[in-house]
């Protein structure tokens, strides 16, 4: 396996784009159904999980020792 900074940055960008592109989903559902609706909670869960993924990728991308963190070697 091989992970380089470029690949990591690309994954991080994709996760951030995905999070950004789905932000309006929870907002729309909340406006139409109210904050307490079950579907709105599911939308918040979805947004939170995407946010968490993007955040972790961002942290890893910013870290100097991301290769150790991902448990991969640089022998390729």
């Amino acid at each position: 396996m091989h992970v380089n900074q470029s690949n990591l940055n690309e994954l991080t960008r994709k996760a951030a784009d995905l999070m950004s592109d789905t932000e309006d989903v929870a907002r729309l559902l909340k406006a139409r159904l109210g904050a307490e609706h079950e579907v709105v909670r599911s939308a918040n869960d979805m947004h939170a999980s995407l946010e968490s993924l993007a955040h972790q990728l961002r942290c890893l991308s910013a870290s100097d020792d991301q290769h150790d963190e991902m448990g991969v070697s640089e022998d390729t």
Binding site: H2, L18, D21, V25, L29, R32, E38, L53, Q56, G71
Partner: protein, 149 residues
């Protein structure tokens, strides 16, 4: 909720599911399927699929509650759901894996098949409900194809 709201939600969530799946596969290919980042990716995909199902049910329920008795009614928002065959979705994921710079394992493929199967069974349950409520929206030719799945 308007029809355009549902169209937006279906389109956005369907695309998000595909992109999140591709992202998760890419992470798993680089970091390993058991890495916590891959777990976060799977969790995100599951949450997107869960929300997509709930929005479909919401569209169905809303149409049921507001539908007048006469059969000649406007096309319900549920009809805006695009047909997405599980096989195409699975193939897309496998192609994404094949582009990753590692060997594809049987375990990875088996897990993807299992995920597609679970998603298919849940979608099938919703589709059957829609068929019972709106049989006129399913021409005979389509129903034969659905039976073949």
């Amino acid at each position: 909720m308007t029809e355009s709201d549902f169209e937006y939600l279906f389109r956005t969530l369907s695309e998000a599911r595909s992109r999140a799946t591709e992202l998760t596969v890419a992470i798993g290919a680089r970091a390993g399927a058991d890495h916590r980042l891959a777990d976060l990716g799977h969790s995100a995909v599951s949450n997107i699929e869960k929300l997509l199902r709930e929005v479909r049910v919401l569209a169905l329920d809303q149409t049921e509650s507001s539908r007048p008795v006469p059969p000649v009614a406007p096309i319900p928002p549920g009809a805006a759901v695009r047909s997405e065959h599980w096989l195409q979705s699975l193939i897309d994921e496998l192609v994404a894996i094949s582009r990753a710079p590692i060997d594809v394992s049987f375990e990875t493929v088996e897990r993807l098949v299992q995920q597609r199967k679970q998603a298919f069974l849940k979608d099938l349950e919703t589709a059957r409900r829609m068929y019972r409520v709106y049989p006129h929206l399913f021409p005979a030719e389509n129903s034969r194809q659905a039976g073949a799945s």
